[in-house]
Amino acid sequence: MTVDDTWYLILGAVLFTIGGAGLLVRRNPLVMFMCVELMLNAVNLTFVTFARTLDDVGGQVVVFFVLVVAAAEVVVGLGIIVSILRRRPGATADDVSLLRG
């Protein structure tokens, strides 16, 4: 008995949803970032699954670029978080409301 591709896609969907719900619920900016990583991983899983289904290396190439962009995004995002938290320790996402309309 082999695992159908649909199961991988459903697992990716569930992982994406958990990450999205965490992003909406949590207030610590670091944990929100980790939830974004969860969502990126869910999408990577889906890309690799479709790459296998279609026998196409393009899906894996996209995952490669997603990894690079995720690394760059984490570097810049953590830089922003460091500069915010240095100014006011213990800030949550609710405290950074300077730009609200």
Binding site: T2, A13, I18, R52, D94
Partner: protein
């Protein structure tokens, strides 16, 4: 065998993901994230994306999570935040509703995608007898060369930006 590996990896992934969302301490969140990333790497091996599995472990678990832990340690934000307080009235139920609706939609799409109808092997065949690394490397350095070069520029920009943002202003530096 496939089913056993998939079930074990899926259990690890989901437990880790729930741990990231539900554990109050950011350090525990980061460790749970490592668990999830390893589970995804196992599934990458299962799906014959060997290079991506190795990169997943090295880049994600080895670099990104370590970066998270360094920031937690540097800033000392490792105290647990209380999950019971809800600062915005009705936000949790709204988030749950959005999550359930989104899950239903994406699962519906996933089930529908069982009959996938795209053109096969457009960027190169994975099962052509060559190793995964050969196919992936040839594709990146021929078809996707411009995107590859663009990512190198992106990484340089990200490094410069991080250095600029994480630098202390001059006057506070002198105080210390």
């Amino acid at each position: 065998m496939d089913v056993v590996v998939f079930a074990a990896a899926a259990a690890i992934i989901l437990a880790g993901a729930l741990g990231v969302v539900l554990s109050p301490n950011p350090v525990h969140c980061a460790l749970m994230l490592v668990m999830t990333l390893f589970g995804v790497a196992v599934l990458f091996v299962q799906e014959e994306a060997h290079f991506l599995a190795a990169v997943q472990v090295i880049v994600y678990a080895g670099a990104i999570v370590v970066l998270f832990l360094f920031v937690i340690m540097l800033l000392g934000v490792d105290k647990a935040d209380s999950l019971s307080t809800e600062p915005l009235g009705g936000q949790r139920p709204a988030a749950a509703a959005v999550a359930v609706a989104g899950l239903g939609l994406v699962v519906l799409l996933a089930v529908r995608a069982a009959e996938v109808t795209g053109a096969r092997s457009v960027a190169g065949a994975l099962r052509g007898g060559e190793s995964n690394l050969d196919v992936l490397g040839r594709s990146i350095f021929t078809d996707y060369l411009f995107a590859f070069e663009a990512t190198s520029a992106l990484l340089v920009i990200a490094v410069v930006g991080a250095v600029v943002m994480a630098r202390r202003p001059r006057d506070t530096e002198r105080d210390r």
